[in-house]
Symmetry: D2
Subunit: 110 residues, 4 copies
C-alpha cells in the first residue's frame, strides 16, 4: 500500500486496494531500470562529444520506451482501479473516470 | 571528438568539428542527470506500490523533459552542423539536411 | 442509432444505446465543420503559393483542434458507453475496456 | 508568389522566390482535398450517430495524414528556402533557421 507518499492523489478509500500494475510489478521495475540506464547512456554520449544525430536517436528511443510504459500502466489502471470503482458506482466512480481522463490528456499532450 | 563510438553515423569528414551542443554541454549533462534521477524516482514509486495516476504524472513529466532536451539539441545541430555543411555546399550539405529531417521525423513520431 | 454503417466495430448489443457524445452532438458537428474549413483554407494557401511556415502553422493548428475533439469524444465514450458496460459487467465490459485502450493507443501514437 | 496574404510572416526579401513545395504542389493539393473529405466524413459519422470508437479511429487517421503533410512541407522548406538562405548567409540565414525551429517545435507539440 502507498501510505508512504503524503503527496499521493489517491483517495483514502482506495489506499488498501492493490494497484492494477501489481501483477506486473517486476516487469515494470525492469523496464524502468532499463530506461534509467538509457538516460545514463545519453549522458555519457554527451560527455564524450558524440554526434548530435546519434544522441537524438537515443532520446527518441527513450521517449518511446516511456510512452509504452505509460500505456501499459494506464491499461492496468483502467482494467482494475477504474473498473472496480465504476462497478461500485457513486462518487468514487466519477472521481476515477475524471482522474483517468486527466492522465490520458497529459499523456497525449506530452 | 567522437572517435570513441565506432557505431557513430557521423561522416568522417565531420569528425574533427565541434558539435553544436558543445557550448551548452554542462547544461545538457545536468538536464540528463535530472532525467536519470526522475527515472529512478519512477522506479521507486512502483517499488513502493504508489498510486498509478501519480506514477503516470511523473512519466509524462519525464517525456516532456526529454522532448525539450531533444528540441534544444536539434536547434544546436541545425544552427551549427547543418548550417556549416550547407554553407560548404555539395554532398555534405545534402547528407546533413537528410539526416536532420530523419531525426525530426523520429522526434515527431516518438 | 448507427444501423447505417455495416463496417461499424460496435457490438450489436450496444446498437440501441445512445452514444456518449449524443448530448454534445451540435457542438461536435460545429467543431468538425470548422476543421473542414481550416483544411480547405490550407488547400487555398498552397494553391496561392503562400509561405511554407504560414501553412505549417495552420497544419499544427488543425492537428491540435482534432486532438481536442478526440479527447472530448473519448471522455464522453468512457463516461457513458464504457462505464455502462463495466456496470453491467461480463464480456461486454471486457470488450469495451479493450476497445477504449486501443483507441487511446492510436490517439497517443498519432 | 504570395503577395495576396498581408498576414504572411515571410520577409519581403523572399517574396519573389518559389517555395520549396512548388514542385509537388499538385500532390499537396490532392492530399489536402482528401483530408478535407475525411473531415467531412467524420462530420457525417457524428451526424449519423455512428459508434464513438469508429469516429475516434478516423480522427487519428486524419491527424496522421496531416502530420505527414507537415513533415513533407517542412522537408521541402528546409531543402530549399532554408538552405538557400543559409548559403546566402547573414541575417536572412539566422531568420530562416529560427523560423524553421519554431515550426518544428509547434509540430512536435501539436
Amino acid at each position: 500500500m502507498s501510505a508512504t507518499n503524503p503527496e499521493s492523489t489517491e483517495s483514502p478509500a482506495c489506499e488498501n486496494h492493490t494497484h492494477g500494475y501489481g501483477e506486473n510489478k517486476a516487469k515494470y521495475l525492469a523496464r524502468m531500470r532499463r530506461i534509467e540506464g538509457q538516460a545514463r547512456g545519453i549522458h555519457r554520449m554527451i560527455d564524450e562529444d558524440q554526434y548530435c544525430i546519434d544522441i537524438l536517436t537515443q532520446v527518441s528511443a527513450v521517449r518511446s520506451a516511456l510512452e509504452n510504459v505509460a500505456l501499459a500502466l494506464l491499461e492496468d489502471h483502467i482494467d482494475h482501479c477504474v473498473a472496480d470503482a465504476v462497478e461500485e458506482g457513486g462518487e468514487m466512480a466519477e472521481e476515477k473516470l475524471t482522474e483517468a481522463m486527466d492522465a490520458i490528456r497529459r499523456m497525449v499532450k506530452s
